[in-house]
């Protein structure tokens, strides 16, 4: 069967392969060739030795990630924040996308969508100062214009840990909902309107429509996006976790993630090997998680699995 089928395939899909070629070349040059550099994670890099000739030190570079007393804290923070981002992010994006979808007037839908999208376009530096304008101890909006008129004691947000899980999650959602809901919105417009019409005729209300039609139709998208997010669960949004808390040491226990730890620890030493080791570790764990999630998905509903 082999040869005959292969020829047939090429004949049939040839143009598609050619169309995919530029992307393949791009990925090969940009993503695969540099992977040789991963060898840095196992080396004590020196200029004279170069990338491939430096002294091999085994797993020595990975030590610093696990030796620290903070190893548990930063791993916990990274995973929990990301889980919260995935779960809340997905549900809120879907709800917002549904709301936008239900707006009949094209003009107002475009306006709302732009407004929701806008925070995602802001640089995280600007976001951190917006947060600072709200939260600062002496001059912040909350302390000066909300708590003071009410006769409440000012809160020094930048040294109290309990607030930050909420702040960071809120800021992340505020920033990312706009971009995330675009995909869902596009998917929703692709749902056959006939389904809704039939449901309406049968007397289904909005909620029933949402849960019985919209949501089931979105499941493949949700699953794919979630699997991809799970793969990045060991990487954190560096800008969010480093810039927004304004480098305040007192709240580090709830704002430190693997990325900020690596940055703070290696900023002064510029150690190539250790940086490469940290990224290597994040990628390997991320890959394993993707494989595990996908296997689980395949087991329970094989048509939704990515591969």
């Amino acid at each position: 069967m082999g040869k005959h089928r292969a020829v047939k395939q090429v004949k049939r899909y040839g143009p598609f392969y050619i169309m995919a070629l530029p992307a393949c070349i791009y990925f090969f040059i940009n993503n695969y060739i540099p992977m040789g550099g991963l060898i840095l994670a196992f080396e004590k890099y020196t200029v004279s030795g170069g990338i491939f000739g430096s002294e091999k030190v085994g797993l020595n570079n990975f030590k610093f990630l696990f030796q620290s007393a903070d190893a548990w804290i930063m791993t916990r923070n990274t995973i929990l924040y990301n889980l919260a981002f995935i779960v809340l992010g997905t549900s809120i994006s879907i709800v917002v996308a549904y709301l936008l979808h239900e707006i009949r007037s094209t003009v107002s839908r475009k306006i709302y969508q732009t407004v929701i999208l806008f925070p995602g376009l802001l640089s995280v530096i600007i976001v951190s100062y917006l947060a600072n304008a709200l939260l600062a101890g002496d001059t912040g909006f909350i302390n000066m214009h909300l708590l003071a008129p009410l006769g409440l004691e000012p809160v020094s947000f930048y040294s109290e840990q309990k607030w930050w899980p909420f702040f960071l999650t809120f800021i992340h959602l505020w920033q990312m909902t706009g971009t995330n809901c675009i995909l869902y919105l596009a998917n929703m417009s692709a749902i056959d309107p006939g389904l809704y019409e039939a449901a309406n005729l049968d007397g289904a209300n909005r909620f029933q429509c949402f849960f019985k039609i919209t949501l089931p139709c979105l499941v493949p998208t949700i699953v794919t996006l979630s699997i991809l997010s799970v793969g990045k669960i060991f990487n954190s949004d560096f800008g969010l976790f480093y810039q927004v808390p304004m480098n305040s040491g007192a709240i580090l226990d709830v704002t430190q993630t693997i990325d900020t730890y690596v940055y703070r620890g290696l900023m002064n030493t510029a150690n190539m090997g250790m940086s490469a080791a940290a990224c290597f570790y994040q990628s390997v764990v991320g890959f394993c998680l993707v494989m595990i999630t996908n296997t689980l998905v395949r087991k329970f509903s094989s048509e939704n699995a990515m591969f």
Binding site: V47, F64, Y158, S159, L252, T269, M291
Partner: protein, 517 residues
């Protein structure tokens, strides 16, 4: 089995990076490395090409070597080529070397510095701001021990013992610039405000940090729009970055009292440190510092320029008040806490890249740069008449009709602060005062010692992280030392500070036994 697992893991990493669209740092590091590799090859062939292209063939004795120097600057370098031509005319004749400076804005510099160190650019001489030990530990610094006495006599004559700041384990890796080696903790304040409030006598009587509190109290009361005390560089650096102790390169193990003895101790456990943090906390509680001091990112200079701050703690020497007056644009004064002490100075150094093809030429040029006033001035300020003029006091100033923003060359970088004309904003006696200060200052027992961190990298990575949690908060006064300091010390110990101190003591003893001082 094991091998299969490993290869599976590697394949794993591969596909994840691909899936993530190469957003991760792994891809970035590796990518830049690879790109650089190619760059190295092409630049190498480039050098060859230019060498064969010059009129002097390589075999001839009158051959001209070309070297490239990378420096950061906050100044202007639009007319770099023109200035280089003028410098090369001198250097070609005197030492048979042609140079090419490549200047970067400071912000960009600090982002690219690691890349420069990785050896993938065609660099011969590299400026190092904030220490050169990374260059040494990455093997990027050329061993200058033998070249220095041969081609660098003028450097030796000028810097003398201070050259040891560029040594690690007895090997000369870097040439420190000739700058002020002697300093101590200093409080910089608004002199005009002090005069306005009639506080001169009180200020003159200040001997310790505590004494300053009385001044702050008056300022807080009479100048409500001004924060009495702020952090020198915002929250990016600890307040006691410049202490009365000799920090021997990093704060993990210091010599107290300006290096009176060679006993390396844990700074954070000393009574002195607890006392200083106590003073800062007291001021914080009394409202002398802002409640937001912990997250304040603006530097003292910026705040002063806007009349929003009165004083800050930083380093102090003979020139601090003069320097701060010109940078802040206000009349500034400095109170020194303790005596200035000469210590290892390696804040700004020049290293020769270990993969250079012209080490001798590099050394020759550094020697010319430090000794020839014409070259020194050309590099710093460009061509007379075009980029600067000499005013009636014999000091440099911008030509008529030009200023800092319109002048097309004003690099500012130099190897020796006394081997160039003085700028009009500088202290007219700067050169004499500098030489005198460096010659007569008290010397720390650790002067000339550089700590080689190679064997304790893991510990220092962790210590840096512990410090980022507590140090700024404690030193700016936002955290109560009574409760926080013990926790801080405990975590430092868990992160291995004792091992670092032990190693530092061992290296220092070895250095001293080898006749360091």
């Amino acid at each position: 089995m094991k091998r299969r697992m490993i290869s599976a893991l590697i394949a794993a990493a591969v596909s994840v990076t691909a899936l993530a669209g190469c957003g991760g740092n792994a891809g970035e590091t590796a990518g830049s490395g690879n790109g650089g590799e190619g760059g190295k090859e092409s630049s190498a062939s480039g050098t060859e090409g230019s060498a064969s292209g010059t009129d002097a063939p390589k075999a001839a004795t009158g051959e001209v070597e070309k070297i490239r120097i990378y420096v950061p600057t906050s100044g202007k370098f639009d007319d770099m080529d023109e200035v280089m031509a003028a410098i090369n005319e001198i250097s070609r004749e005197k030492i048979g070397v042609e140079v090419e400076f490549k200047a970067y804005e400071f912000g960009q510099w600090f982002q690219q510095y690691s890349l420069f160190l990785s050896g993938t650019e065609d660099i011969d001489i590299l400026a190092n701001y904030g220490g050169y030990l990374n260059a040494v530990s990455q093997g990027a610094a050329y061993d200058l021990t033998e070249l220095l006495p041969e081609y660098g006599q003028d450097i030796i004559a000028l810097e003398g013992d201070y050259l040891k700041s560029g040594e690690v384990d007895g090997v000369q890796y870097a040439i420190p610039i000739y700058a002020s080696y002697a300093w101590t903790m200093g409080i910089t304040y608004r002199k005009d405000v002090v005069e306005e409030l009639g506080l001169e006598e009180q200020v003159a009587a200040v001997k310790t940090l505590e004494d300053w509190g009385a001044v702050l109290e008056v300022v807080k009361e009479k100048k409500p729009e001004m924060t009495p005390i702020v952090s020198m560089s915002g929250n990016t650096a600890p307040v006691f970055q410049y202490g009365t102790w000799d920090d021997l390169g990093n704060n993990y193990g210091v010599l107290m009292d300006g290096g009176a003895t060679s006993d390396v101790v844990n700074l954070f456990e000393t009574e002195e440190y607890a006392r200083l943090c106590g003073v800062m906390h007291d001021w914080y509680e009394k409202g002398y510092s802002s409640k937001d001091i912990q997250t304040q990112t603006d530097s003292f200079i910026v705040l002063t320029q806007n009349d929003a701050a009165f004083s800050a703690i930083g380093n102090g020497d003979f020139n601090t008040s003069f320097y701060q007056t010109t940078t802040c644009g206000k009349e500034m004064g400095t109170v020194l806490i303790g005596d200035p002490v000469a210590r290892t100075y390696n804040n700004v150094t020049y290293t020769v890249m270990s993969n250079t093809k012209h080490p001798e030429a590099c050394m020759k040029f550094l020697n010319l740069w430090i000794s020839d006033p014409e070259v020194g001035t050309l590099v710093s300020y460009g061509i007379e008449g075009k980029h600067y003029e000499i005013n009636e006091n014999g000091m440099g100033c911008y030509p008529k009709g030009q200023d800092a923003s319109s002048c097309t060359y004003h690099l500012g970088s130099n190897l020796s602060n006394i081997n160039r004309i003085l700028w009009e904003s500088e202290n007219p006696d700067y050169a004499d005062l500098l030489v005198e200060s460096n010659a007569n200052a008290k010397k720390s027992a650790g002067l000339g010692f550089s700590f080689n961190t190679e064997s304790v990298t893991n510990e220092i990575t962790q210590l840096d992280n512990v410090c980022s949690k507590y140090q700024v908060g404690l030193e700016c006064g936002a955290l109560d030392p009574e409760t926080t300091l013990p926790v801080f010390i405990e975590e430092l110990k868990a992160a291995g500070i004792e091992k670092v101190i032990e190693e530092k003591q061992r290296q220092l003893d070895e250095f001293l036994a080898g006749g360091g001082q």
